[in-house]
């Protein structure tokens, strides 16, 4: 009987440990995805800023290490008549990535152009 109870308790505790380990991994993954998300957001901000300065961008793409001097980076592509920004943020330390797809409209005739966000999709 004692042995039986002990086995049940051990199973419960081991189960609990397993859940805790999963939780820890979840939190860690959430941290990494958050890092990747903010890197992607920086890329979108970069694209919007260029549009504010220069008006609509012709279909183009570029990548930039962010923060500078780290292996993390964002990759931005602008397409669909310069109104669809697709940015992938990569947190290099965890290899996590996050994708933002942002639909904008650009109006105005001189700097600063007005850039309005029409649609914002996270990891579409």
């Amino acid at each position: 009987m004692t042995l039986f109870m002990s086995l049940i308790m051990a199973a419960l505790v081991i189960g609990l440990l397993n859940v805790t380990a999963i939780d820890l991994n979840l939190v860690k993954n959430h941290m990494c995805s958050l890092q990747a998300y903010y890197i992607a957001e920086a890329g979108v901000a970069d694209a919007i800023n260029q549009m504010r300065q220069n008006g609509p961008l012709t279909d183009t793409q570029w990548e930039e290490f962010f923060p500078p001097a780290t292996p993390s980076k964002y990759n931005v592509s602008v397409s669909q008549s310069s109104t669809l920004i697709n940015c992938t943020g990569l947190a290099a330390t965890s290899n996590f990535s996050s994708v933002l797809e942002v639909q904008v409209s650009v109006t105005g005739s001189s700097t600063p152009y007005d850039v309005s966000i029409e649609q914002w999709k996270e990891n579409p």
Partner: protein, 488 residues
């Protein structure tokens, strides 16, 4: 048999159906239970620690998300920056004007490890357990701004914040984001140029800047240069005209002048006390004299040492056409505070007081007073000083009394190039005028005399501040004498 039975004596738990057991069996069972309980306790403890770790990480995560999210949201709407830490400072701070024109600040308190936010001097914790907060700023060309950061050049800010578990420093993570700021932060434009005035160029040239943004911009440390023979002057508050400010208010103007620029016409004569003949010819004095040493500027100042009343005055004609007419004087006394009175009045030539400009105690250090006389345009007026000294001690001093009419709007900021000309003098046929904030070029105009303002007393006036700086179609001749300090 009895011995054998005693050796294997069996114990019962006084339960009706419980089998009896030996002492050895009892010890074995208790030992096993202890072993299993110990192992379980260890597992429970590990499980609890794991849960605690997850909880701590989760808290860090939430702190990080909250801080970065708030910083990005608020800095994105900032209207101007006034101070920022060095890019190498890991306990960083950034001070800015928020969307409601209130000065606020983000700062890492290295002592508590908290990232704080609020108005300077009244900060409250936004999140804890941070060990690093670094702000790296970039100009419009994406060049990193080195320390000391020229806040007027900031176009984007990288934010990096590192959060560490206070119980276990091995648990940390860094979040980074970038904020691009409205491009009109330093959107100052060269708006009007008097490059070829009537008469001698050097002291009469001036350049007007316009701030079309909704935020004030401090031009301290900015420079102006021209391109014929590249020469750069650093802009400072004008030592004689203006209020000492170098900040252009939102939608305001600044006029860059040489110190001796004839944009102003001085109406008083001899108010600097430097030439005795000129002074006594133009001023009516009663118990005032002209003495050497300790003047505000130059060698001589006005002095009165008698006990009782004293006065001096001069009459001037205020031109009918002008944008401003400044009356300026400097005063101080060595008499103990409270024992002298000075009253400065503007009178008509019948000695009727029109307005009292200043009425109070004289100052213990040289102090400047100014007033606008534009309301008396086209009139003859008397600038009258009267003093009353109730002690035989000390002296009363006056210096640099002048009234100067000006085409410069009274509200415009007056900036000086520190010498007698703009850079090394603006070219009469063509030239390049460039304004920098000390590092980056803010605006640059390469004009040609075919654009306008070519030596006939008119200025070269920009048509649309948002239009191209080097687009000939965006420039034209302004009115005679220009409109320095006001809209073209």
């Amino acid at each position: 048999m009895q011995k054998e039975a005693k050796k294997h004596k069996r114990y019962t738990l006084y339960a009706p159906h419980c089998p009896a057991f030996t002492l050895v069996e009892l010890i074995l069972v208790v030992g096993m239970i202890a072993l299993v309980a110990g192992a379980l306790a260890g597992l429970v403890r590990s499980s609890y620690e794991g849960w605690q770790l997850g909880s701590d990480r989760s808290t860090l995560l939430q702190d990080g998300r909250a801080v970065i999210g708030q910083m990005v949201r608020i800095l994105r709407q900032a209207r101007a920056f006034s101070a920022v830490s060095s890019p190498t400072d890991e306990a960083g701070y950034i001070t800015f004007t928020n969307v409601d024109d209130v000065t606020e600040e983000f700062r890492l308190n290295a002592g508590t490890g908290e990232i704080e936010y609020g108005q300077p001097g009244d900060l409250s914790a936004l999140a804890g357990a941070a060990t690093r907060l670094v702000f790296t700023c970039y100009d419009i060309d994406a060049n990193g701004l080195a320390d000391p950061v020229s806040t007027g050049s900031i176009q984007s800010v990288n934010i990096e914040a590192t959060f560490v578990d206070p119980q276990d420093s091995s648990i940390n993570f860094t979040l980074a984001d970038r904020v691009f700021c409205p491009t009109d932060f330093t959107h100052v434009v060269i708006n009007e140029i008097m490059y070829n005035p009537l008469g001698t160029d050097a002291p009469a040239e001036w350049v007007e800047l316009y701030n079309p943004s909704d935020s004030s911009i401090d031009l301290a440390g900015w420079t102006i240069s021209n391109g014929t023979v590249p020469t750069t002057d650093t802009l400072t508050a004008h030592p004689q005209f203006g209020d000492g400010s170098t900040t252009i208010p939102a939608n305001g103007y600044a006029v860059i002048m040489a110190e001796t620029t004839t944009v102003f016409e001085e109406l008083t004569i001899g108010g600097d006390f430097e030439n005795n003949h000129i002074f006594i010819t133009n001023w009516t004095i009663d118990n005032w004299s002209r003495t050497k040493f300790n003047a505000h500027t130059g060698s001589y100042k006005g002095e009165s040492s008698v006990s009782g009343s004293a006065s001096l005055y001069t009459d001037i004609s205020v031109p009918a056409s002008l944008n401003s007419c400044l009356f300026v004087f400097w005063e101080m006394t060595t008499v103990p505070v409270g024992q002298t009175q000075i009253t400065v009045t503007i009178r008509n030539l019948s000695d009727v007081i029109l307005v009292t400009g200043y009425n109070g105690q004289m100052s213990s250090d040289w102090t400047c007073h100014t007033m606008d006389l534009a309301a008396y345009a086209g009139q003859n007026i008397r600038i009258h000083f009267s003093t009353n000294k109730t002690t035989s001690e000390g002296v009363l001093l006056l210096d640099d009394i002048y009234v100067a009419s000006s085409y410069v709007d009274l509200d415009a900021v007056r900036l000086s190039t520190g010498d007698g000309q703009i850079a090394n003098g603006l070219g009469d046929n063509s030239d390049t005028v460039a304004v920098t904030d000390g590092s980056a070029t803010i605006d640059s105009v390469t004009y040609d005399d075919s654009w306008g303002g070519d030596g006939d007393g008119t200025s070269l006036a920009r048509i649309d501040p948002e239009g191209g700086s080097n687009d000939p179609a965006n420039w034209q001749s302004g009115p005679t004498n220009g409109t320095p300090g006001s809209a073209n």
